[in-house]
Amino acid sequence: MYQRAVDNIRASFRQIWQATDDLVFDVGETELRWEDNVVYNQEQRGESIAWTLYKDGVRSLAFKPGVEEAEIVSFLGVLQRARNLQADAADDLLTLLWAQDFQFVSYTFRELVSENAAPIEAGETITSAPPTDVRHAVEAEAPPKREGLVSIDDFDTTLYFLEDNEVAYLKKDVEREYAQDLRRNVLSMLFDLLELQTYGTVRAELISIVENFIPYLLGAADFRSVALILRESRAILQRARELIPEHRQALEGLPTRLSQSDSLSQLLQALDESAVHPTEEDLSELFQELRPEALSTLMVWIAKLHDPYVRDLIQGSAARLAQANPAEVLKALASEDGAAQLEMVKLAGRLKLPGAPEGMERLLASEDRGLKLALVEALTAISSPSAMRLLEKAIDDGDRDVRIAAVRFLGSRGYRNAAARIESMVTGSKLRNADLTEKMAFFEAFGALVGAKGIPALEKMLAAKGLLTRKEDPETRACAAMALGKVRTPEARAVLERAVQDKDPLVRNAVTRALREVGT
């Protein structure tokens, strides 16, 4: 609809240019007149374009050919901005129009603001000496007239022109002026002052400026400048030893305040909602300055972030914090927020943080299946003795998948400490109601961990018994066969070969697979 409106305006202008070379309106309070004819009228001032122009002093408005292509959209934008300006704003319609430097729009205006300017008039007459005295004074002051007194040679001719290199120097300086990071420049001034001005009131004002500057910078997504503030504050704390405790505390508190949950949440929310993202470098500069306590908040937010780019950035920053601060990792694992716990567990696993299992034990008792699966995954990644110890516990977990994941890993890693617990499950009744996959996982882990010592028990389970002995069910027998395959000794092979012709296809199949695993 907007584009259609713009197209209509452009088409209208093009038609007008076929009849006239310019279009000049007189501006009234509620109307625009063209050649004394009212061509626009809107009595409701709030709705009136004429009033928007008139109230700030515009009295005529002229458009030239070309305006429809180059400037009409900007011009309408300026009108819209001017309509929304508060009375105490730093701009009005005239300042906004001026700043656009329109080439195809011109206007006349009446200066409405009175400044009580004093008129400029000739000054008081200085009593002048009689002409003859003046003449004598001039003659006395001036050297005698002689031809060619003032010659071009008397002057430094290098002054006449700027040399090419001087022009280049100035040009470069102007380019630098507009390429520089103004905020960084101003911050450098503030920190120079903070360091050099020892007056308490001045320092208090400077610290207050810096504190108030941070939300402004964050709002402007200038994370690098915020990082600079935190870094420079730290430098000043080290260098300016005469800082009074109050100021020291305020400076020390800056990164802490920014790392607090509320402030950091605002920042992360703004980041997630922002259309323009900072670079990884900018953001990591800021996050490097965050206090370790920020980790928990980051974990909470990682789960909430919608923007994958931002999530990746935050994960990178969280990883750095987590690696450097084991205690904060434990705090984050102890968070009340389940989503934060989950993210921390995943991160700990990705980073293989050796201290993390300490904070994970409590989580194993959680009802949250997803969390527990993530825990097992993290613990298997960490694989430290304490992680293995927790995995051993996990084989008793109430959730099948957790148990399977834990026992498979323990088996694959040959974690013999778990052998007794697994044996009790394999030989006991705990797996009776388990499905084939779980049974298989436990039996295979048993075979891998117990080795040759487990052959008698496994043989007993695999063998088809006499009439008086209860025969194990085919699933258990198949699992026993697979476990023997993991033992990988000639004895185990011999037991398997004896069962090659078993009548039960499930068992027979398992034996064949186990034999392949044992090899020749």
């Binding site: 050919p65 000054g123 007239k145």
Partner: protein, 490 residues
């Protein structure tokens, strides 16, 4: 074109394309013309450099004529128009423009017309004649004599015309002068209002300041001389306010000379107007103290640059934080080696705007009468000191550009001529090679009587023998002769 439908290839497109071409090709033309004039002035016609310059002039002229059929180069005020398109000054060409402007004026030319039939030989004759006529004394008939000479030499495709002068021009100049006075008076009043508001802890009206600076930029772009003349006003209002406005005017004019865009001039003007805003936090008893300041008082005065930064942070209603203004307020007393004040610990490169404002500030302060400087220093002496004494710490290239802007004898300087006349410098000579020969207003009669308004004389003019009838021999104190300088500018 279909009836009722919009034309294909709109007028706007045509206008824009033509404007763009003319700006570009017009600038090229001016630069090659300047090179040819300058080469021919320095070397004989056979010189290879001259020959190349003439080749370039011919090629560029023909390129323009391929598109435009006729070239009209017209002078209007301080501007040069090529086929009605105003050429924009920038750092790459302003010296060439000024020189050509001066040479054409000196020859009494208001417009040059070149049409399609022009050949290299004709351009060579035109440049030679231009040089010789520029050296002659200005007379009302000079341009017609030049036109005749061109015709006699068979130059039929280049014509020269006198400037268009009408009653409207005089009225327009008077209007410009009045507009300049209004702009100056308003700017001083706004500055006063803002500084006083800040001093009293009230909200300052930044909108008014913006309007004032925008008006100064407009005025400098339209008629620089009338506003520059007003910087000679003394005792119009408190020093702090007039000084801020003067620094703003000088800075914007210098920025224009350096080719800054209109919006960049605005940035510079805002920063310049606020450069001393920190003084609003200096106690009045220190600011207005007569006689010498104690060490402690100097220390307080020297705090004004950084107090300016704090003040600008507290300036509510500014909208955007005025970073550039803060930087200029902070740096304008720093020297190029970063000595001066305030002391700088962290590495910094002085902003070009700070360097410009420093020069404008130093010049206006030294040439003004202040509470602790009852006798102002003569403008030429101030420039000499700024240029020759590196310990002052000004950027030498900016000082040089400033001297190019205001001349060796700045506007308002009172001089004695070798004719025993007393004169006031009215404006710098537009031709920078005549930096020592400004346009002056003769304010005494041959008998020694002080006259008002007196009359203008261009010291670059020569008489029939090629001599300068008037030259400056000395700079003097106007008060000694009962002359109130600003009376001649208001």
């Amino acid at each position: 074109m279909t009836a009722g439908g919009p034309p294909k290839g709109s007028i706007a497109e045509t206008v824009q394309t033509t404007d763009g071409f003319l700006r570009h090709a017009g600038r090229d033309f001016l630069v090659v013309l300047y090179t040819a004039v300058r080469s021919l002035k320095l070397y004989p016609i056979e010189n290879a450099q001259v020959q190349k310059a003439l080749d370039d002039l011919t090629t560029t002229t023909k390129h323009l004529l391929d598109v435009e059929k006729e070239i009209e180069l017209r002078l209007q005020g301080e501007f040069i128009f090529v086929n009605s398109t105003r050429l924009r000054l920038d750092l790459d060409n302003y010296a060439s423009f000024s020189h050509i402007l001066g040479v054409l004026r000196q020859s009494g030319i208001g417009a040059v017309r070149i049409d399609e039939g022009v050949e290299r030989k004709q351009l060579q004759i035109f440049v030679s004649l231009l040089l010789s006529y520029a050296a002659k004394e200005v007379t009302a008939t000079k341009v017609f004599e030049l036109a005749q000479k061109l015709s006699d030499a068979g130059v039929t495709h280049i014509g020269v015309e006198p400037p268009l002068e009408t009653d409207e021009d005089a009225e327009d100049e008077e209007r410009q002068k009045e507009a300049a006075k209004r702009t100056y008076a308003r700017s001083v009043a706004v500055t006063k209002e803002v500084i006083n508001s800040i001093r009293m802890g009230r909200t300052a009206n930044v909108k008014k300041v913006k309007r004032a600076v925008q008006a100064i930029v407009d005025q400098v772009l339209n008629n620089e001389a009338s506003l520059m003349g007003l910087t000679t006003l003394r005792d119009y209002d408190e020093y702090t306010f007039t000084h801020s406005v003067n620094v703003c005017i000088f800075s914007v004019a210098l920025g224009r000379k350096l080719g800054l865009t209109k919006l960049q001039l605005y940035d510079l003007g805002m920063a310049a107007l606020f450069h001393d805003v920190g003084k609003s936090r200096v106690p009045l008893e220190v600011l207005n103290k007569q006689g010498g300041l104690s060490d402690e008082e100097w220390r307080i005065m020297q705090a004004h640059p950084w107090l300016g930064v704090l003040t600008l942070f507290g300036l509510r209603g500014y909208g955007e934080i005025p970073y550039r203004g803060m930087i200029v307020a902070y740096e304008h007393h720093m020297k190029t080696d970063l000595t001066g004040y305030p002391k700088s610990l962290r590495p910094r490169d002085l902003s070009i705007y700070s360097k410009i404002v420093a020069v404008a500030d130093g010049f206006d302060a030294a040439t003004s009468r202040r509470v602790y400087q009852t006798v102002p220093i003569q403008p030429d002496q101030v420039l000499k000191e700024m240029w020759e004494n590196p310990r002052r710490g000004y950027d030498q290239i900016v000082v040089k550009a400033f001297i190019n802007l205001i001349g060796i004898y700045p506007v308002g300087t009172c001089v004695i001529l070798d004719t025993y006349e007393v004169a006031l410098v009215h404006s710098a000579n537009p031709d920078v090679t005549h930096v020592h020969r400004p346009v002056v207003r003769i304010v005494t009669t041959p008998e020694g009587g002080v006259q008002h308004p007196g009359f203008l004389a261009d010291l670059a003019q020569r008489d029939a023998e090629g001599n300068h009838p008037r030259s400056i021999v000395k700079v003097t104190d106007p008060v000694k002769y009962g002359i109130n300088v600003s009376d001649y500018f208001v």
